[in-house]
């Protein structure tokens, strides 16, 4: 994984688009799981994605997490391939259990001719 030594987590990682190994868009970085804080060497353990995670993102976030359906998906940091303006992952979305919202929604759309 190639990432700059100093990555501003707020600006460079949080809320960025996630892309899988095939370039499919599969969510945003909704929150980060940090570890090593007490030891003084903090690092990102995992990326967290999903409506329940929004509860920690302000009042509107709490409201949104109640309205939206979906579960939290935890992506270990080792799954990150590279970071540019988006966060690119090593595996495909189904392998990481991402993008299931689109999978669920597809049933509603694919029966229409021309889709």
């Amino acid at each position: 994984m190639s990432s700059p030594e100093e990555l501003d987590l707020g600006l460079g990682l949080l809320d960025h688009q996630l892309g899988d190994s095939e370039g499919r868009r599969c969510g945003n970085v909704d929150d980060l799981e940090l570890e090593g804080l007490s030891e003084g060497s903090p690092r990102v353990a995992a990326i967290l994605v999903g409506p329940p995670v929004w509860r920690g993102r302000g009042r509107l976030g709490r409201l949104a997490s109640r309205v939206a359906r979906g579960q939290t998906v935890r992506i270990p940091w080792e799954e990150v391939d590279r970071i540019d303006s988006a966060v690119h992952l090593k595996k495909t979305a189904p392998e990481l259990r991402l993008g299931r919202g689109d999978d669920r929604a597809r049933r509603w759309v694919e029966w229409i001719p021309g889709s």
């Binding site: 809320d15 960025h16 688009q17 868009r25 969510g27 302000g58 919202g101 689109d102 021309g114 889709s115």
Partner: protein
């Protein structure tokens, strides 16, 4: 040679696509009330949309990120969601107004009942979006909108006092009815600097895979396209100033706008005007609808894009279909499309800072933009327009209330 043809066609489509129902309503009402005095405000608005689009296009080309990605990244989830909600509300109001306008024009052309034509209009829009390839849609509606050039011909034929017209391009404050003048200035700026057009433009840039080397070309395309599109707004205002103001006509109907071309140019003028309005408003409806879906998808990280098949981006597809359905409900409630347009334009002005500021920030971020970061000229204009946008956003609703929507 082929490249030049491509550019020319792109510019033509941009010109025809410049006018939407907000421009029709505000330019004609402003002309009927204040004659040519507010022409300079249209210029300010056109330059503003060029500045805003240029930054968004550059950000999209360099970072491959469209506007709402940048908004969420810069403002965070909470504030970003607030920006999303307000943008979606404004998008919905605008879409409903465009659909209503579309139905009114169809009624003036066909004589069929208004409510039936709302359904026809929505079904037609949905069918076009579903079936036609996207660049075709932009071209058809763009070229169709060029029929509005009839207003330029008509304006000349009405023999306006060109001295007064040129005075209108010099910034000045009106002698009387200053609050109403300010209200129309705000409305004209809002009608020119439509956010949905910017979201749409930047999403299109990402979809078409613009790279930094596309920046120059597309910058020119936007400047010339929007710049010349502004001429259509001038034509509308000058027509209203030359024809409606002397007679004391207060335009409140779409048919009145068309009358502005009928009087100087007869039946052919009337038909071209109606067809032009049809394509301009229809095209704007599609842009608005998509931009609403783009914003949702980009904020929540869904797959999106008009070039993906609908089943490739299911939530995105459901989003634009859902917006059309909601717009249908809103406009079927019987609300007057012209009135709804006025509200939509004013509210979009209030929400404008929330989407402008993140783009200005991102365009200035060297880590994001590399050597394409805002230079001095871009920042001079960018900051100037930030002030304009803030001033206008703060004063929009008080002016609307105090002047009773420009009635005085």
């Amino acid at each position: 040679m082929k490249k030049i043809l491509q550019i020319a066609l792109g510019i033509l489509a941009a010109i025809g696509g410049f006018v939407d129902i907000g421009d029709l309503v505000f330019n004609v009402e402003a002309g009927a009330k204040f004659g040519y005095q507010l022409l300079w405000v249209v210029v300010v608005g056109v330059v503003g949309i060029i500045v805003y689009s240029e930054m968004c296009g550059r950000v999209a080309a360099v970072s491959k990120r469209p506007v709402f990605d940048a908004i969420r990244e810069r403002l965070g989830f909470g504030v970003g969601l607030g920006a999303l909600i307000s943008s979606e509300i404004v998008n919905l109001m605008t879409l409903a107004a465009e659909v209503g306008g579309l139905a009114l024009v169809l009624q003036l052309l066909s004589g069929l009942p208004y409510r039936v034509l709302i359904l026809v209009g929505i079904a037609g829009l949905a069918a076009v979006i579903w079936i036609a390839p996207f660049d075709w849609i932009e071209r058809i509606f763009g070229y169709g909108g060029l029929a509005l050039l009839v207003f330029a011909v008509g304006a000349v034929k009405l023999h306006p006092d060109w001295g007064s017209v040129s005075h209108g391009f010099v910034p000045h404050v009106s002698g009387s009815d200053q609050l109403v003048y300010a209200y129309f200035a705000v409305g004209l700026l809002g009608a020119a600097m439509t956010p949905y057009e910017v979201y749409f433009y930047s999403s299109g840039a990402v979809e078409e895979g613009w790279t930094p080397k596309d920046i120059g070309l597309n910058r020119a395309n936007a400047m010339i396209g929007y710049g010349l599109g502004g001429f259509l707004s001038f034509a509308l205002m000058i027509t209203a100033g030359a024809l409606f103001l002397p007679l004391g006509i207060e335009p409140e109907l779409i048919g009145t706008v068309a009358l502005g071309a009928q009087v100087p140019l007869g039946e052919i003028g009337l038909l071209l005007a109606l067809v032009g309005i049809l394509f301009a408003v229809g095209g704007a409806a599609i842009d608005t609808c998509f931009s609403g879906a783009y914003n949702l998808a980009q904020f929540f990280g869904w797959e999106w894009g008009k070039y993906r098949r609908p089943s490739g981006a299911p939530r995105f597809t459901l989003a634009w279909v859902g917006l059309l359905v909601l717009a249908l409900l809103v406009i079927m409630s019987g609300i007057d499309p012209v009135l709804l347009t006025e509200y939509a334009v004013i509210f979009s002005v209030v929400a404008l800072p929330l989407t402008y500021v993140p783009i200005l920030l991102v365009a200035n971020d060297r880590a994001y933009m590399g050597r394409y970061v805002n230079g001095r000229l871009a920042n001079a204009f960018g900051l100037l327009y930030l002030l304009v946008i803030l001033a206008v956003a703060v004063s929009a609703i008080p002016l609307m209330i105090l002047t009773n929507q420009g009635q005085g």
